[in-house]
C-alpha cells in the first residue's frame, strides 16, 4: 500500500505565489524604499575618502572602547583597504547596518510583548525556534519572488535569520528583572508603562544589548551567504572566488569579513559595558 505524499511543499508554494501576486504592490514598495536606503547609505559611506572613514571609525572605537580597539580597528581597516576590498566592505557594512536596524525595530516591541504576556510568549518562542533552525539558505528562495534578485532580498532573509536573538534576549532581560523590584514598583502604584520604562527596560538593557550584539553577528554571516542571490559586498567576492577556484582571493575576502565581524562585535560589546 502506498502512503500518499503530504503535499506540504506545494501548499507552501501556493501560499507564497498567492502572497507574491496579491501583495506585489506592497513588496515592490518595500523593495524600492529599501533599495533607496541601501544606495544612499552606500553612497554616503563611499563618498567619504577611505582615510577619513577609517579615522572616524578609529575615533569611535577610542571613545567607546579605548585605544586598543582603536589601533586594532584602524590596522584591520587599513588591511582591507590595502587588499582592494574597501568598497565591498562598505556594501557589506551597509547591509548589516540596515538589516540590524530593521531587526531591532521589529524585535524590541515583540520581545517586550512576549515578556509581558505569557500567552504571546508561548506562541512566539516556537516561531523563533523555527526561524533560527531553518537552514538560512531556505529564506533566500522566497525572497527572490518577493523582492527580486539583489540586496533587498538579502536584507529580507537577513532580518528573518538574525532577529530571533534580539527578541529572545529582550524577553529574557525583562523577565529576569527581580520580582521584588516589580513588587516595589507595583506597591507605589506604578502603571504598566511606568513600570516598563522606569524599571523593566533600564534593568534589562545589558541583556538587550547582548541580544543586539548576537543579531549583528548573525546578520553579518547572513549577508555573506546572501551573495548567492546577488547581494553585493564581501560575500560576492567570496562567491566569485569559489566559482573561479581562487583560494587566495577567497581567503582575502574571508579575512575582511572576520575583521569587520570583530570590529562590530567589540564595538557593540563596549556599548553594553557603558550601558551597565
Amino acid at each position: 500500500m502506498e502512503i500518499p505524499h503530504l503535499p506540504l511543499g506545494s501548499w507552501i508554494e501556493t501560499g507564497l505565489n498567492w502572497l507574491t501576486s496579491e501583495y506585489s504592490v506592497v513588496t515592490r514598495g518595500i523593495s524600492r524604499f529599501t533599495q533607496t536606503g541601501i544606495n544612499s547609505l552606500n553612497d554616503g559611506l563611499m563618498w567619504l575618502p577611505e582615510w577619513a572613514l577609517l579615522a572616524l571609525i578609529a575615533l569611535l572605537c577610542w571613545k567607546l572602547a579605548g585605544p586598543r580597539l582603536a589601533i586594532g580597528g584602524a590596522a584591520g581597516l587599513a588591511l582591507i583597504w590595502n587588499m582592494g576590498l574597501w568598497n565591498p566592505m562598505i556594501e557589506t557594512l551597509t547591509l548589516v547596518v540596515i538589516a540590524t536596524l530593521v531587526a531591532i525595530i521589529i524585535a524590541l516591541p515583540v520581545g517586550i510583548a512576549a515578556a509581558l504576556s505569557e500567552r504571546l510568549y508561548r506562541v512566539i518562542m516556537p516561531v523563533l525556534d523555527f526561524m533560527q533552525t531553518m537552514p538560512a539558505f531556505v529564506y533566500l528562495i522566497p525572497a527572490i519572488p518577493f523582492f527580486g534578485i539583489g540586496s533587498v532580498s538579502a536584507i529580507f532573509a537577513t532580518v528573518i535569520f538574525s532577529m530571533p536573538p534580539a527578541i529572545r534576549f529582550t524577553t529574557l532581560g525583562i523577565r529576569q528583572v527581580p520580582i521584588e523590584l516589580i513588587e516595589a514598583a507595583d506597591s507605589y502604584g506604578a502603571t504598566r508603562s511606568q513600570k516598563l520604562f522606569k524599571v523593566q527596560l533600564p534593568l534589562s538593557l545589558p541583556t538587550v544589548m547582548a541580544g543586539i550584539n548576537q543579531t549583528i553577528m548573525l546578520a553579518l554571516s547572513m549577508v555573506v551567504i546572501a551573495a548567492m542571490i546577488g547581494a553585493d559586498g564581501l560575500g560576492s567576492e567570496v562567491w566569485r572566488a569559489i566559482q573561479r577556484l581562487r583560494p587566495g582571493d577567497g581567503f582575502e575576502a574571508g579575512i575582511a569579513v572576520v575583521i569587520l565581524a570583530m570590529l562590530l562585535d567589540r564595538l557593540t560589546q563596549s556599548f553594553r559595558r557603558t550601558s551597565k
Binding site: 521584588e180 514598583a185 506597591s187 522606569k198 533600564p202
Partner: protein, 400 residues
C-alpha cells in the same frame, strides 16, 4: 481604650487560596479540614484562612508568624500585590479586593508605601532617585520631589549620599534608603515586610529604635511583618500572631506574654527574655489602704496597724499621690499635736509609670524597701509593686 481609636484598615474574613480551584478549597475548609488535608485532596494551598483584624490609626501593628504562616501573603493582600480569594479589606471606606485597575493604582499611591526584606532598591537609580520613586510615579514636579526626597533622606541619616548607587551602600544603609523611599511618598500606611530581617543584629536593633522614634514623631500607621518575636515585642503596639494562615492571637506584647491564647503561643514565647518585656503593671498590686492628706496622724497610724504596714501612701481627693507617711513620722505628728499629716510626708520613695519594664524595678528595690508606687500620667496612684511580686511574676513566666 483601644476600642475608641479610629480604625484605619479593617480586615474581615480574608482568605487566600493558591491554585486554580479556590472555591473547592474553601468549601473543604468550611467542612473543617485543615491546610494539609486540603492540599492533599485538591492540590490547592490555603494561604490565609478567615483573617480578621483592625489596624488603628497611628499604631504600629506587628504581624508575626514563622515561615509559612502566611504573613508575607497577608501584607501583600493589603495592597493587593496578591489578589485575595474572599473577604474584605477596607481602608477609608474603599474595599481593596473589589477595586478596578485604575482605582487600585490610585489607592496604592494614596495609602501605601512599602519597605521590603531585601530592600528592593532600583540598582540603576541613585539614592536620591530611589527616594523620589513614589513621587515620580505620582507625577510630582521635579523640584518638589527633589526637596521631599532630600528631607526624607535626612530623616534616615543619609544626607550626603544622594548621588551614590545602592550597591555602594551597606545593608543597613540600603534599608535606610528603602525607608526614605517609603517616607518620602507620605502615604497613609507604611507596610514593612520583614524590613530588618536581612540586617545583622546590631544594626537591626538600631533600626528598630529609629523606627520607634520616627513612629512617635510622625504617628504613621504601620504594619510590620516579622518572624522574630523579640522584634515584635520590642516595637509592636499590638501583635497579630499567625499560624498556618490563621490568626492565633491578637493583643499587646504584654497580653501575648502574660495571657498566651494556646500552647502554640506559649511555646513561641518561651524563648523570650521575659523580664525585659514584662512591665510594672503586670506585677502591680492594688493598694489595700491609703491615707488622705486631710486625715489626722492617729487615723493614719490606725490604718497602718490594721493592715500591718510600717508606711502608708497619702493621696488627695483625686487620688493624686502626695507622698509617703512612715510610722515614725506619724508618731512624731501625734507628739507634736498636729491636726493633719500633710506636713510629715516624705518623697523618699520610687514612682514609676505602669509601662516601666520589670527589670528596671529590681535595681530600685536594692536601695529602699518601700513598695514602689505606680502612677499614671495624671500622677494618680494606681497601685504598688513589692519585691516579692516582681520575683513571683518572673518565676511564673519562667515556668510556662
Amino acid at each position: 481604650m483601644d476600642e475608641q481609636r479610629p480604625v484605619k484598615i479593617k480586615v474581615r474574613g480574608l482568605s487566600k487560596v493558591f491554585g486554580k480551584q479556590p472555591k473547592k478549597a474553601l468549601a473543604l475548609r468550611d467542612q473543617g479540614l485543615n491546610r494539609s488535608d486540603i492540599l492533599e485532596k485538591t492540590g490547592q494551598t490555603l494561604g490565609l484562612s478567615n483573617i480578621s483584624f483592625d489596624v488603628y490609626e497611628g499604631e504600629l501593628l506587628v504581624i508575626m508568624g514563622l515561615s509559612g504562616s502566611g504573613k508575607s501573603t497577608l501584607i501583600r493582600c493589603l495592597n493587593r500585590l496578591i489578589d485575595t480569594t474572599e473577604g474584605e479589606i477596607i481602608i477609608d471606606g474603599e474595599n481593596i479586593p473589589t477595586l478596578g485597575e485604575k482605582a487600585l493604582l490610585a489607592c496604592r499611591r494614596r495609602h501605601f508605601s512599602m519597605v521590603f526584606q531585601n530592600f528592593a532598591l532600583f540598582p540603576h537609580r541613585t539614592v536620591q532617585e530611589n527616594a523620589e520613586f513614589g513621587l515620580e510615579i505620582r507625577g510630582i514636579a521635579k523640584t518638589e520631589r527633589k526637596q521631599i526626597a532630600h528631607t526624607a533622606l535626612k530623616q534616615v541619616g543619609l544626607e550626603g549620599w544622594e548621588d551614590a548607587y545602592p550597591n555602594q551602600l551597606s545593608g543597613g544603609m540600603q534599608q535606610r534608603v528603602g525607608l526614605a523611599r517609603a517616607l518620602a511618598n507620605d502615604a497613609s500606611v507604611l507596610l514593612m515586610d520583614e524590613a530588618f530581617s536581612a540586617l545583622d543584629p546590631l544594626i537591626r536593633k538600631d533600626m528598630q529604635q529609629e523606627l520607634l522614634q520616627l513612629q512617635t514623631r510622625m504617628q504613621k500607621t504601620t504594619v510590620f511583618i516579622t518572624h522574630d518575636l523579640d522584634e515584635a515585642l520590642n516595637i509592636g503596639d499590638r501583635i497579630v500572631l499567625l499560624k498556618d494562615g490563621e490568626v492565633v492571637q491578637i493583643g499587646t506584647p504584654e497580653e501575648i506574654l502574660t495571657q498566651p491564647a494556646d500552647d502554640y503561643v506559649r511555646r513561641f514565647i518561651e524563648s523570650v527574655d521575659r523580664s525585659r518585656v514584662l512591665t510594672a503593671a503586670s506585677a502591680m498590686r492594688p493598694l489595700r489602704t491609703t491615707a488622705r492628706d486631710s486625715d489626722g496622724p492617729r487615723t493614719a497610724l490606725h490604718r497602718m496597724r490594721d493592715h500591718a504596714l510600717d508606711s502608708i501612701y497619702v493621696t488627695d481627693r483625686d487620688r493624686q499621690l502626695l507622698g509617703l507617711l512612715e510610722a515614725e513620722a506619724a508618731n512624731t505628728a501625734i507628739q507634736e499635736g498636729a491636726e493633719s499629716i500633710s506636713g510629715y510626708l516624705t518623697q523618699d520613695f520610687r514612682k514609676v509609670p505602669p509601662d516601666e519594664p520589670l527589670h528596671h524595678l529590681f535595681a530600685m528595690f536594692s536601695e529602699k524597701s518601700f513598695p514602689i508606687a505606680v502612677i499614671d500620667e495624671q500622677h494618680r496612684l494606681q497601685g504598688v509593686v513589692v519585691k516579692g511580686a516582681v520575683l513571683d511574676e518572673l518565676a511564673k513566666a519562667g515556668e510556662q
